[in-house]
Amino acid sequence: MAGGAHHPQPRQYVMIAIVLAVLTAAEVALFYLEAGVDAIGQSLTVPALLILSALKFYLVVAMFMHLRFEKRLLSRFFTSGAILAGALYLITLAALGAVVLF
């Protein structure tokens, strides 16, 4: 076990999985709601979907992968890889005109 830290118990893992399932249901609901709302509503859907997926990402990494209970070095390795990849590809997409950053 990592660094002697207390990991969640099975009951807590099940609770986290329920939260993940609810977040997934919310994502799918947002996808279907998007068609029935006006332009302002639609412009909020994408950020909302990104926030929900970021939440799910965090829950899996922090609780299931136990990164929250690990040494900081592992967090740094992992987050630096994610940030590097995200920044690199966002810049590439912006440079090629696929997304508008500013």
């Binding site: 399932a21 994502e27 799918v28 997926s53 990494v61 890889g81 590097l84 090629l96």
Partner: protein, 203 residues
């Protein structure tokens, strides 16, 4: 000299000056590098999905079956739960539950991959072939490589589960292998969390 940088502990641990088992550190560094791999494939898809490849051509987005993919996503998400329960059971020394949850995770992974095969078959039957346009190629490359990662994960899970069955339980030293396979499995899950939103839901 080597002992300064790399010491061995009893029980087969490979601890370095960082205080982290070198195999575990290696797995985290590998997973970190996988962000660049999948990032390139996601980037490739996002770049081509909105491009015009002439009239009459088919795009993956026209064939998405969101309810079906949502269920697949849910199955993969739940496989992360069974994986963490396997790890937790092993930490408690409950060998039977460890074996059960490892098999359950492999089963859920197989359901996910079968769904992906079904989706590919449906798309191809509708005329969305790999080389029909760059958007289709990018879609198959991204989801195909993800599926390949899931298949590798299933194989590793089955090796651990059958080893546990044959030997009557996994040893403490093998516990790290369960943790490493678990890390890999959860990573495959978080990549799908990103793919599900960026590829399927944000159209």
């Amino acid at each position: 000299m080597a002992d300064l940088a790399h010491g061995h502990e009893e029980g087969g641990g490979h601890h370095q000056v960082t205080g982290i088992d070198s195999r575990k550190l290696g797995m985290w560094v590998f997973l970190s590098s996988e962000f660049l791999f999948f990032g390139a494939l996601i980037n490739n898809y996002l770049l081509f999905k909105g491009r015009d490849f002439g009239p009459g051509t088919l795009y993956p987005v026209e064939l998405y079956d969101i309810p079906f993919t949502s269920i697949s996503s849910f199955v993969l998400l739940m496989s992360s739960l069974t994986m963490v329960l396997a790890h937790s059971a092993l930490a408690r020394g409950d060998q039977d539950q460890t074996k059960t949850w490892l098999f359950a995770t492999a089963f859920l992974g197989t359901v996910f991959v079968s769904g992906q095969f079904f989706e590919f078959a449906e798309f191809i039957l509708h005329g969305l072939k790999l080389n029909i346009n760059p958007a289709a190629s990018a879609f198959y490359m991204l989801t195909g490589f993800h599926g390949l990662h899931v298949v590798l994960g299933i194989l590793m899970l089955l090796v651990l589960a059958f080893k546990s069955m044959r030997t009557g339980g996994l040893s403490e030293a093998e516990g790290l292998n369960v943790e490493l396979v678990g890390l890999y499995w959860h990573f495959v899950d978080i990549i799908w969390i990103v793919i599900f939103v960026l590829v399927y839901l944000i159209q």
